[in-house]
Symmetry: D5
């Protein structure tokens, strides 16, 4: 029905505006994250549609980057998390997938041994990425922290 | 050809023997790992066929658990890393897969920003799992460290 | 390596023994569940390898059905939850899958509206199945209860 | 053939108009559902193209939200129910899928024991979602009710 | 656990015994079906594990074919309906799949036009197969009859 | 290449024009089919691009619905039969798929017993859909008729 | 149920016996085919379970190769045609798959232009394979012949 | 970047222009192929983007159909051969796929017996389609000819 | 949100501009690669979005082909490497896939025997393609060189 | 049919015997290959069932490793090349798959530019693996050589 003009700012519009403004501002994710008081992992995922912003953080980011108020609402919606590739092809992301394939059963066994019959939450969860200096070449350090959730019995 | 008797110890035999002996010994992966001087993540993955043992570590484990020498050779082979489920179903392992789906592009973006055009190695790689005490419920902390590998240009 | 005799009771053995003993005893899942003080949904899933028993419940069930003590240990292990069919074919199970396909986005939207940006836990979770008498034909009532888990921001 | 102007309101147009009008009106699904005398689960699924409206309910909703009469017809069509992801990726929806994988065989076994050889209908079916207050954190309660359908023999 | 002797008759055993006894008896599915008062489509599907027998029909078939009483119980269980090939390869079965692909949307449209918003049940369902004599070559006539089930609104 | 104006009527245009004109005319598929002397199953499938029209039937339909002559040619082309979902999700179509999964091997066995080693054609094929009145609720009756094709030996 | 001894010759047994006897006899498929008056393509496919033998051909082959009478019945059954790899991996078979991918639409277009709206039958079908001498290297010539089947209109 | 006007003729443009001009000219593929001295199978595949034209053949076709010179270049490019459906759904193309599934292993066995360890090339390859008159209904005859390629040993 | 004009040069724009300018300039990949001091394999992959340019190489290429400065930035971004076909269909690319299927385990075995438990890097990697003159027909020679990466133990 | 004793040496038996004898002999693939005058890549692939041996090479290997004559025949058969994982999981093999995904279109483009419209053969093909000493860590060098095959036009 092309008589109706869709003039709202969508989630994708908001993402595009953030990426463009960030480039113009010459700021890194780390700098933006520091400025609004969040971590860069969370900020990037929220800015690209994999997490929802609390309203004050959306406002802070919009103010920082000079974005119109119309981005606030879509940024605070709870986004539908969708990915297309069951097995990712980009080498940087595939290596993470490979780690899950190789070490997934090990993580399960050690959680069960240390905590009991349960899992690490991916919801009550945070992740940080750091540079780990090393004489033979610096390393990427990824730290994940998720609440232990025991299975209910009833 | 059933005239030939297959009497060698296979990788699967070695794994089964380790699991049985570990249960009888009442030892945790942490305890076994401490005893042979490796980390529990590595030990579990190597014991269950996802990594190959250096010979001295295979000997140390065999001695510790009272296993026959015939397990040494299969434990030191370079194992074929195979997993059947492109998308894992066990909730504890699926959550890791979900983290890759949700945060994979974020990890790539931050590595590129911090290090340049490259990836985190999954080969020159290590991982540790710890309990993180927390007043609202303890947490699982997973720390991954992989060498940064820049893409070659030629 | 066929020189080693595997003589332990496996998870599958334990399941087979429970099903056989249940049939001989002429007991329903409801009756067994009442006898050990659990719900029938949980008991069936634990008996068929989709949940782990607390030790006292495993002992109670073994005693009730006259099973040997060797079933206790495998029943208390944290089982690897595996299913083969990404889309189930059995009509009774497919209908549940269809409900997720049709109403999944609705459940997400209503949880987000009522609770905020989060999910219903499938770990801190319970389910009951009841007969709902109805003049035009009795109905199956399934009640699920899962803890609301808000997404962390960090 | 671009000589023909397509000027009808489609199902997707109707959905977009409802979502926009709902946002402007600041009404929740619960409020809209109460106003037209349906449940919020049904209303959301019908508004987003997974169920067809009875004409009077379509008219009531259009009147309530100030939508043009042209939305009535597409809302009353029997929609083609299509979903793209055989395994959903959004965590909130995936958890429902996981529940089917883990507890599907249990639901089948208990229906068979309680009712006989048959299934729970997903057509003569309803679902409700409620907040379940709980001292350790409120819970989501999903109640499904489907007519028991016995297999025909002939 | 190989100390336990599994000596019960399984569903697969029962099927194998029926097929063997049928061959020895030189009876067609039509003849067996007439003898126990069921249709051949139903009998074949029940004999090969896709439907459950009412007890008296299982007894009648066992008596007719001289099978031991141990087949009764597995034949009356509600079978798990499983097929491996999402797209069947056997040409005779594939043609049916092709008919669903080509005419499925047509069947939906005509049911909706004739009956309203609903479906044809595959549970309250029967099917017959007959020879249709024809001068240019006899034809296979398949007749399906399923109860119309209207979607519930709630 | 946007210098060339594509001004022909495509198959999709023709389908869209038929559906629109049918709605305006307030005619059912049964009525249109009677008017041009074909069955409604065939007419719907041909109108929506799953069968090709003989020219006189395309002309008759165009005349009946007041469509331009430009629809004749695309309607008489042999269409490429394409469907996207190997396993259909719409419940009304899925039930047909389920019937093939459950009863496919039975249909094969009975065709082989009645006719010999061969199949039912899906090309020299027709299908009808009727309402079957029934005191417990009317039923959908689908009748398929396909030529028996014996396998060649050579 | 291991009390029942399965002592019939299966289809797989018959295939294995034919392959072994053929090797011992040092006969090619061409020679065997000539001896029983069939073509080698058909004979190989029937011997390996992709076609059913007429009884006299099964008897002729059994006599020729000195096989017991028990192979006659399984060879004359209508076999279930099953293949595991939707996309074959063996290079010799993959090339045929590739030809279908590249030239399939062309074959359809030319059949439609030459014959009308229909297909080439894969049931009333035969195929021959010959050596085609060529100065730059001999060629494989595959000739397929299938009855043209026009789509029915009804 | 919408400041750049893409004004070149693409491969798809060339295909569309050929199909339109062919329809207007009322020529069959056979007639066009004869006119430019190629076979109709090759011409159709090259015209629809599955083969590349030698320049003189592209010029001849363009002249014959009155197409602008801008089609020459895209027609002579080496096209990327892509098909979307691993298992084709159109019945006319599926039957070819089915032939590969049923007779693929037979073709391999007979090539190996007649030629040795190798394959039939799909690159040094040609195919022809003819009408084969037959009293019981004309047949489609497909003849494929591919160079025998022996596996290298090194 | 169509109020915002996207006027940046994207990666796809840059690729399209390079391909067009290359064609007009009548230069081969080898010639362009020589001119900017890189290899043709790397240049093609970087130009088509599978590798990122160092800034000076992007500037050199832009200068060489007369492209605007706006292409520099997108060419130097770290591209997301995505491919759609898990199994490629184009014959030239499929043959490479086939080589991995046939010789992959061999490459692994020989790397393990020669170097130890590790892999060949696909990141610290280069590849060259050359013509290898041969009396029976010239050959394509592909040379790959990747750093050996030993698995870490920890 | 368990009355027939299968006493022939299969392809899998032959592979197992070679691997065992090689281990006992303490020989590398390079040493074995040198001894029979073949390359190690070819020998490993032929020994593990991905290529067929010429008879004299099979005899030479059997003599070298002290294997019975019964291995000759299966080693000289043309093996069916089958792999299970469309996307390999082992990191060493996956990296090769990744190279095809990233550089496949590049290889095609450069072959087309250098040779014309054609491919590199995977049949008239050879591959070598070498150690490439390097100050920053030795490298694996893979060299592939395949005959250029031009597409036929006809």
């Amino acid at each position: 029905m092309n008589k109706i003009t869709i003039d709202e700012t969508t989630r994708d519009d908001a993402t595009a505006m953030i990426l463009r403004a960030k480039k113009r501002a010459g700021q890194s994710w780390q700098q933006l994250a520091d400025a609004i008081g969040m971590s860069p992992v969370w900020l990037h995922s929220a800015a690209t549609g994999m997490n929802g912003f609390p309203e004050e953080k959306a406002r802070a980011l919009a103010a920082l980057l000079g974005l119109p108020d119309s981005v606030i609402e879509p940024l605070t919606d709870s986004p539908l998390k969708v990915w297309d590739q069951a097995v990712p092809t980009d080498p940087c992301i595939y290596r993470l997938y490979e780690i899950v394939g190789v070490y997934g059963p090990t993580v399960k066994a050690l959680i069960n041994e240390e905590f009991g019959n349960g899992i690490m939450s991916a919801i009550d969860f945070s992740m940080h990425l750091e540079r780990e200096p090393h004489p033979k070449g610096d390393r990427v350090r990824l730290t994940m922290s998720g609440k232990y959730l025991p299975y209910a019995n009833w």
